[in-house]
Symmetry: C3
Subunit: 394 residues, 3 copies
Amino acid sequence: MAKIVILGGSFGGITSAFELKRLLGGKADITLLCDMDKFVFIPSLPWISFGWRRPEDITLSLDSILRPKGIKFIHEEAVGVDADSSKVMTKTQEIHYDYLVIATGPALAFSAVPGLGPEGGHTECIFTLDQAIRTKKAWDRFLENPGPIVVGSVQGVSCFGPVYEYACELDTELRRKKIRHKVPITFVTSEPYIGHFGIGGLKYSRRMMEDEFASRDINVIANQAVEEFTPDEVKLKDETKLPFKLAMFAPPMAGVKAVFHLGNPKGFIPVDSNYRHKDYKNIFSVGVAMAIPPNDTPIPTGVPKTGYMTEEMAKYAALSIAAEIEGRPPVKTEPVGAICIMDMGNTAALMKARPVLPPRQEAVMKSSIAFKWMKQGFEKYYLWKIKRGLTQLP
Amino acid sequence: MAKIVILGGSFGGITSAFELKRLLGGKADITLLCDMDKFVFIPSLPWISFGWRRPEDITLSLDSILRPKGIKFIHEEAVGVDADSSKVMTKTQEIHYDYLVIATGPALAFSAVPGLGPEGGHTECIFTLDQAIRTKKAWDRFLENPGPIVVGSVQGVSCFGPVYEYACELDTELRRKKIRHKVPITFVTSEPYIGHFGIGGLKYSRRMMEDEFASRDINVIANQAVEEFTPDEVKLKDETKLPFKLAMFAPPMAGVKAVFHLGNPKGFIPVDSNYRHKDYKNIFSVGVAMAIPPNDTPIPTGVPKTGYMTEEMAKYAALSIAAEIEGRPPVKTEPVGAICIMDMGNTAALMKARPVLPPRQEAVMKSSIAFKWMKQGFEKYYLWKIKRGLTQLP
Amino acid sequence: MAKIVILGGSFGGITSAFELKRLLGGKADITLLCDMDKFVFIPSLPWISFGWRRPEDITLSLDSILRPKGIKFIHEEAVGVDADSSKVMTKTQEIHYDYLVIATGPALAFSAVPGLGPEGGHTECIFTLDQAIRTKKAWDRFLENPGPIVVGSVQGVSCFGPVYEYACELDTELRRKKIRHKVPITFVTSEPYIGHFGIGGLKYSRRMMEDEFASRDINVIANQAVEEFTPDEVKLKDETKLPFKLAMFAPPMAGVKAVFHLGNPKGFIPVDSNYRHKDYKNIFSVGVAMAIPPNDTPIPTGVPKTGYMTEEMAKYAALSIAAEIEGRPPVKTEPVGAICIMDMGNTAALMKARPVLPPRQEAVMKSSIAFKWMKQGFEKYYLWKIKRGLTQLP
């Protein structure tokens, strides 16, 4: 029986696990390793940071959703992978695999800019549950003594969406609290223009976001890199200094330590169109852990890998592994597309791109309060679905 | 009984007078000085310049509206103020005050640019009734021999709204006369971009005005200063020369001579958040006469003080004076907001900003023919209200 | 009886012929010369190039539409005009005229850029029926092996509309074939910005086309000249190199050889406001053959002369000739306007400008699927009308 090990318990990991189980049933022995014991619905993290959600609203116990499906869960961090002898190492054991799926997500490279990040730096982040909880505390302190806020993405960032969400939610929440006029907001980004999103824009997203931010009195500094953060100031490469009472900045991403040596210079895993490692044929990688070439922008930016993209990749990887185990020819894949709803506080925008990068066969960019409701509904639906181990529409 | 003297008979002066009377009744002796014997509804002056209104449609006798309320009116120009001995001087008398409200509006600084202005210069203006009447005559002459028109705001201007109104009304009127194609219109402004309005833009006002002017075939030269005006040409700082048959330009503003020495280097009165003079505690100032720091734009521009803003200031000043006279603690003020309807000839735009400068808690920018009707209705309503000495909604 | 010779069998030629016949009846002997024996409804040529129309759908035999109206048709190319002795030369005969109407349309100046054009060059064109048929063949070959496409207008172009149509239709057709994502499209133009159209823009055409092209993932390079075309690459003046599998570029236009000596340095005929030659009083010229001063743009561009404009000119020229023949004073003309519907594949835009260049008394720019239907209907209606020799609404 083929032994499949999956690293990571977020979108890529659990989708791979459920899909492999669905496709292979008893033919495979599937083990999922994760250093966290909870699945976190990452898209809702910005809502945590404003107190619009509690952690328990958006988390599920990994063990309780995986065990009923016959998937083993090991709550341990992978500290290394020996690809030549097909072994994953944790602090306590070595686990052999016939197939390995790397779905670890990213390491956050806060060291990219001096003073960046919540650990030892001066900025908040909303990319992990702990960070979002911390940002909520910073927000509560901020409200006692409001002042300027700077929100942004430093050079090398690939995941821009949550930063836009945070900026718009911030504006919305400040208006609800009737203190918007006491809080100058500046949005700093490495994108060449706002609405680029790391994907070269989507329809008239540039115009739409320019109008949106102008409408919300959010100052924009685009196409800019950050020199450093001090406890109360952002220094940009062009010498501009922006004082702040609160700063939330996205960091660049890299591959995680345990698999870094299997990746490109940034530690992202190079894969073929079936999400199979280019050198190690029994290793697959999906989601943020795998490599997509960066954008060709004046200030470096990467291409985001959203939850939807990650799930598409995980399904292709599972299909490829199942095909090989069952002796069928490899599946034919299509470039993945992206669908997401960007929350904007008092409204939301539906974005659809297939493929993700231009030129696209299909593209949608629309904003409406209805998409806000849809996003709220999807959160509940997705958590309900995952609890039941479903990765397809029921 | 406290003796209160008010300088100025426009929005700030009469609102202060009525409010002080309403608050203090017989406890105060209120005198209003003005060099004009008429209240002029300034927002309608552009309509005078196209013959859409007659002077008698938009003026009221100051004496006839003030006397019935028990407010003294002196039709004399203040030629000086002795703040140390609390006296106002006219050519014929000295008037002692316990409290002075400076609501004189501006002196128009036509000397800022050679050839600017109707007196000795080569451009029309619509900031006073006399100027608007003169502009109507220039318009009638122009129609006999049409050609290029240049409309604009030189460096240092703070009051941009009427210039936008004039440009759009001009376009509308020329289309009605079926000669729009014979009249190239160029709009020159010291604003960094059109739709800035001296307040950093309002929502997507930039995009809106760019579309509006493109739609109307009005050429735009923004972020530009003027070198000089000759009888038939504007010379810009960048050497561009624009010939004209008619030119209407807004001048910068300064404090009026009688109170100049009480103000900042431009003669505007420095006040605290209660509109009280920073040094002379029994002097208050509201409206254009008081000082707001200029914008930080490449070409110098100031912040407009609209009629609505002036009235809010006048109410705060009256409340502060009344509180002091009655021995109550000073009132707590909020930064003033602005609501105005910008006429665009065949349509109009509603603008609402609170506070006036970004970031704002509240902002509205919408265009619709309905706002045109609303503006026309408001003019009648306001004149009716003032005639009755009302400053609050009846 | 006045002998009138007309050169050209397209909009200008047949409109002149029909109008002169309508106005003068038996008082004139009218002869139309054309090197083609067919009237081609030029606005539909882009549709030929995608196979949306067959040549027979949009052509009519010139002889069969002219003869019934008593207009002589000579299917011969004019090789010269002797204006001093009022004679047109073909290869086989000399034809004397009392009045000559030059409505030849343009010569296409493919020599303007090395490698430009279908004859000896590397780019397709859609300005003649033969070119459009050839472009259809190139399109069929392209579909077997898709790749990047470059569409554009080189320096000196005046007729931009069909290039916009081709770009949007291309995008539409590629989406229908579900291969849009395999075909990067770049739009290169000598216009200072897209939506200029050689007429300084029309209302918010700039914003509209920027949004439209962004929405369609069409890359834009505006305000740019072309250095040369190689078999698979466009080299721009700024050194940019754009590889292509298919390139469609508009060439500049000049006067045709037979009348070049009667024109300005580009061979366009200089006329007065009655479309009468400035030197030869019995020669008139309408449509592309006549001279309009070029635009003052950083990269040279000309002003388009559309079918509608050409017909307006032809009517004025016919009126002027008829008036002279009948001994009436010359007609008073107005600057011509333009109405056209720009096809955009899955939608279309109505454009109306009167006069053509700003400032305009009247301007419309709207997009809607309804205009697509209108354009399709107009094609049928126009061909039906011409078949009956009608130039006015029946």
